[in-house]
Symmetry: C2
Subunit: 404 residues, 2 copies
């Protein structure tokens, strides 16, 4: 066999244990919080019939979609987002699902996008959506649930910027697109763009429109959403009416939400809103819907920057095998630790020197090493804050408590 | 837009909440146990360069693989198993990984296989593998870890059938293939096949060979593996030397393992073995390896048949909103319950009748319903064993304990 260079495709990533562990920690925290609010898990297939997805994401989407013919000459496509598959599921199983249908979904999507600036071609989406409720409580709840998720991950300072698309009712899509860049470009350049694009005759007119938007007060709908979110536990300083918030996606028709985390400058860590005309697409009917999605890769970056992975428990013990004859004793100590919910392993080669076993623990970043002394006593080795190894003789029966 | 029929591809599945919840429960239980033994998570991309996968699974594999050209004219393929990507990872990151490298992987794979008999084209694989250890402890450990996983899921009666491929050292691959069907076809038909295929001149000779295999005793290697597995906590009746066990896969060269669960007749629920000549494929070197994989779909079926999902906790509460004015009180009760790790939700339409809210709880199989009576008291409604609804007045502060 010719030697084949081990490599991955551009925009696709391997997650080695250290990274994979962090991802799993965030995913399982999110799942728990989503479920605590009554959102239920949904999984849809990686591949769909092409016609299910095609034309749903605009021209750009069709271009970036991974599409091909399968062995049976079926035209298929890889999941591009989780909203269109949700719309399909709602149409396909309408008699089985409870309504309002509150579901969460944490699956990969694929987009053959430019890979610059931390964009990937395979990435995880984390969505919560409530289908078939037109109550403002539903909008408030996705915000409250996202806030709880952030708190569970350890974030303290974050803010949901909210607006109502109704604010833009007299403004063209093109102008909304320009206004959406206000934060990024600043007022002068947005005004310039509004004029260049022919939306307004003069800078004065454009400036006036912008000022009017800035001065607008929340709609009664949005006031209710904000108040209910606060009643559900979101703190007042965590939610802010932002009349110039527009958000790019066409399909929002009412509430729009954007999440920022203090100190994380790379941009919004999540967003969502109400989109009442999308979910019914496969039944040609109108089904109200509201949702929120975390940007998973950015959320992980923000966790990293805030050192929030430090509180991830990594209670792992390496139990040294002192000699081949005493392997069973070490296996026993491991089993007893696992029984007490402490992750424990032995080095696999019973003939390896203790030094070799210590090195393995070091490389694997295992914080505790146990060296059996007798049937009843062990030496517990760990690092102190200065990074020096400290040793302590401990009764076997006290080991789980000593470690915890 | 033309109406598009909502449908899924043959062999691909939607998992609605009830099913998705069970899957998540099994996955998270497996993850916990795998990690308790020091196996670490690994994730690899869904798409690989075609040449990484092609030719690694025999002709059949190349035929069943999902392959296509991406938008950049790269030849790519969908993950077909988790072992070849693992081999790639081991070659690609050899300086970063700890060795022995103990990893687990729980990801989907895709095979354009016949969809009859519960076979799917997208299905989950759950693998644990230890790379770069030639110690029998490694073989014992994957068995012990799998046994712990089964116990954690609630299984009591299961057995690992083990053998050493060395038993077959004088026997051709074709003959091993025939012997592997012994359990399925019975002795007579296997003998017949051995003769028909021209492996032996007469039935007598074939019978003699089969008898000899049946009479063989475990190799010293396998004896060690079995003894160490028992020292690690596997019970004696859970592991059985089976000299006629051959297993289909070519690449096993030593220990082979097959798992059966008592009462689950559809076949083996998992398997594995030692494969020392596979993982080095991308470096053209030899790296010892041993692994075990659960058949996830079968494992779920076996759980279902043994009613093991009954012990899955589904502590969920619906807090009724008695009137639009008292919505905040209900939100409050929800928050307090969540704070005590009870999943709780309100019906989203504050103007809905209590009956409508009860129906929602029923449809969603929510076991507890709370109706606020005053600021301090609530009515707790649940079903008794006869399926009748029983009601109880409870102080708000006692609610979490009452429910747990």
């Amino acid at each position: 066999m010719n030697k084949i260079e081990p490599r991955t495709l551009k925009g696709f990533r391997d997650f080695l244990p250290k990274e994979a562990r962090k991802r799993q920690y965030v995913i399982s925290t999110l799942r728990k919080v989503f479920e605590s609010y009554g959102f239920e898990p949904l999984e849809t297939p990686t591949l769909e019939y092409e016609d299910i997805l095609l034309g749903k994401y605009g021209e750009e989407g069709d271009k970036l979609m991974y599409r091909f013919e399968d062995n049976g000459q079926r035209k298929v496509a890889l999941r591009y987002d989780q909203t269109v598959p949700l719309a399909r599921v709602v149409a396909q199983y309408q008699n089985e699902l409870p309504f309002p249908f509150k579901r969460y979904q944490v699956q990969n999507v694929w987009r053959a996008d430019n890979t610059q600036r931390g964009r990937f071609r395979e990435f995880l989406q984390c969505d919560i959506d409530t289908i078939a409720s037109s109550s403002p409580n539903a909008d408030a709840e996705v915000i409250a649930c996202a806030a709880s998720a952030l708190r569970a991950l350890g974030f303290e300072k974050f803010r949901f910027y909210v607006n109502d698309r109704a604010v833009f009712k007299d403004i063209s899509k093109v102008a909304i697109g320009a206004i959406d860049k206000l934060k990024k470009l600043g007022e002068d350049r947005v005004v310039e763009e509004l004029v260049t694009r022919g939306e307004y005759d003069s800078s004065e007119k454009a400036q006036e429109v912008l000022l009017e938007i800035k001065r607008s007060t929340p709609t009664p709908w949005l006031t209710t959403v904000i108040n209910e979110a606060i009643a559900m536990g979101v703190m007042e300083e965590q939610i802010a009416f932002t009349p110039t918030l527009a958000r790019g996606l066409d399909y929002y028709n009412s509430t729009i939400i954007e999440l920022e985390i203090e100190g994380y400058a790379a941009g919004s860590v999540g967003g969502g809103g109400r989109y009442d005309d999308l979910i019914g697409m496969f039944g040609n009917n109108s089904i109200p819907a509201v949702g929120f999605a975390f940007g998973f890769d950015r959320l992980l970056e923000a966790m990293e920057e805030n050192n929030l992975f430090d509180k991830m428990k990594n209670i792992v013990v390496l139990v040294v095998i002192a000699s081949p004859e005493s392997a069973s004793l070490s296996f026993d100590i491991c089993s007893a630790l696992r029984y007490k919910n402490v992750n424990a392993e032995c080095y696999l080669d019973s003939t390896a020197s203790p030094e070799k076993q210590f090195k393995y623990a070091e490389k694997k970043e295992i914080p505790y090493v146990v060296v059996p002394i007798s049937e009843t006593e062990v030496e517990l080795r760990m690092k102190n804050q200065a990074g020096e190894i400290v040793k302590k003789t401990v009764m076997r029966s006290d080991l789980p408590d000593e470690i915890k």
